[in-house]
Symmetry: C2
Subunit: 190 residues, 2 copies
């Protein structure tokens, strides 16, 4: 999505360790003009798919998932993060390893909010190694639902998580795919 790539080029900061800082418009502060455009683009990209629900994980995925669900006029559900496996049997859960925080946490959704046969669009802000998406996919399957696809705001293409999921047959749409960020120079996948 051209408008997002331009926004990233003009406002994002590249920090050591392949960190792309987008807190000024996509994370702690959110530019709702580009957010609305992104949600409309997701609607266009998934126009051929029936979507019953949008699923994300707290906290940074919630704004994007809310905008997408508002656009699709379907409910949004977010998984909660727990420091350890203290999740009751009333919830669907999956472990997710975070490379950023170097630890595994548990994500969980109350069983009341996912149903068998539902077509779920998974949404998240960032896609790098794909661990958060894999955890959410596992939760949808545990609930007997169908993964309609995955959408993310920014994918780090060079970390391979998105392509691995595509190779497994999932429809994964990222609104900007950063192919490399060597020496602070951002290159997007065409």
């Amino acid at each position: 999505m051209k408008a997002l790539e331009e926004k990233i080029l003009s406002e994002a900061e590249v920090l050591p360790g392949d960190v792309l800082k987008v807190g000024s418009f996509l994370n702690q502060q959110i530019d709702t003009v580009i957010l609305k455009q992104m949600a409309e683009e997701v609607k266009r990209l998934f126009a051929g798919e029936k979507v019953d629900k949008v699923l994300t994980v707290e906290a940074s995925g919630i704004a994007f998932a809310t905008a997408v669900a508002l656009e699709l006029k379907v409910p949004m559900v977010f998984a909660k993060k727990h420091a350890s496996a203290n999740v009751s049997g009333e919830q669907y859960s999956a472990p997710v390893y975070s490379f950023t925080h170097k630890k595994t946490y548990e994500i969980a959704v109350s069983k009341a909010y996912l149903s068998a046969g539902e077509r779920v669009l998974i949404a998240d802000d960032f896609l790098a190694n794909g661990n958060a998406l894999k955890g959410l996919i596992s939760i949808v399957k545990e609930a007997g639902g169908i993964v309609a696809g995955c959408c993310t705001e920014i994918e780090k293409g060079f970390q391979g998580g998105g392509d691995a999921l595509r190779a497994e047959g999932y429809k994964v749409e990222s609104l900007a795919i950063v192919e490399s960020m060597e020496n602070g120079i951002l290159k997007f996948r065409p």
Copy 2:
């Protein structure tokens, strides 16, 4: 807001300890149809106020604040929660005591995302004792901003936080105000 009161009456659960459970449509799962209506109602209620930015606190305030900010076409910023006062000087912060979790946590916003002179609309899902709103108000003032008002989805009127802020001169608009919930019977403020 009549539609929200009806939704609360038909779907919310009253649990021991004056807990109003709305996870099925306002919290872990979010009904985007009513969310959109709520955002439109906030726009109407604050039509006379200039609003430069919407501010909330993670995680449960983000969906409502996103919808409101999308409607007002202004940026949304969320404060992060920290277990203790481990907040650097690069951030505005305030302590918030949570009655639900019986502990004080620190909420913080990067100084880059709030500016002097900005008119900030504070948004949150629930208003009970008003501690989260007070913390957010303190952060806006520390940044030299102006509180344009506060909006919340559901206020527990009998806990007094909203009326105390109104008595201090703040414009506080809650889309449903529960006046009492004795014996599981919900009564709204007219």
